[in-house]
Symmetry: C2
Amino acid sequence: MLTKADFTAAQKRAAVMIRESGICISDEESQKVDVADFGLGRLEVEGAQILTLLATDRIAVKIIILFPRQTLPEHWHPPVGDDPGKEETIRVVSGDVRVYIPGEDNLKEGFIPAGQEEVYTMRNELILKPGQQIMFPPGMKHWFRAGEEGAVMYSFSTVARDILDGFTDPDIKRVTEIQEA
Amino acid sequence: MLTKADFTAAQKRAAVMIRESGICISDEESQKVDVADFGLGRLEVEGAQILTLLATDRIAVKIIILFPRQTLPEHWHPPVGDDPGKEETIRVVSGDVRVYIPGEDNLKEGFIPAGQEEVYTMRNELILKPGQQIMFPPGMKHWFRAGEEGAVMYSFSTVARDILDGFTDPDIKRVTEIQEA
């Protein structure tokens, strides 16, 4: 649950970060930035801001904005009917992003949100800088966390059906609930 | 046919334009910019520079760079097997782009390359500026031309099989031939 004021403040802050990263968006687009607290109610720790530039029944292009040290919770894109699941490539535009995927545990202490160790199971850490990218095949669990300056990145993918994503944390609700003032 | 020197010069010029547009690319990527004269041998008039950031069997992301007044010839993306054809969205990053699609003829005189009137049949003109985008459904004929300052744009699409694109001009060869010095 987010208050309307918190939602709007996060939306504005994200739009400023997009523009500071050098990406040109319209005023209309800046007002369409979605703010996701994943139902956890601690946006600054676990959450993400997402602007969808394009979403058809075949592809999607989004801008993901993370505030400093903000963590996007561990999730994966399951098969849906004939679709083997969303294939997604993240390409960093500004800031640096710690990405966690299957593989050897080389995660630095203190990078998992406090008390959430059980729902962040991928421990192979890569650090991506502007101009670097990584592809997540369908079904691959992943999560990421912005560095000290926050981060702006593109998500290029096949058709996005966010509501069907799987999350390791059973407390997560993908759709943000907004508390009207 | 392009000389190796012309190819390299166009590649370097395109990489500078990408970076001036605010997009961060690696040095390795800058050396992968493709230069297409479409076999017509007049690159500055009809041609394009293209950097593929991502190409899987499901999606593709490219940066298209056009020099001032350079025209990307009329073409379309046909069906291939079970695929209804490539769906492509162009989003402008810098400069302005005149896009031509089916519809009312409102094309300004002098915007078709001289002597090429017969192979530029789409005459409905839209002008896209940075942050604006347009989607071409599979099969829709389209061509575009940069303004006075050239242009940098993203192409977000389903799987790209450029070699199978259809071109209105029968003289076009999609693969650039390079004349070794």
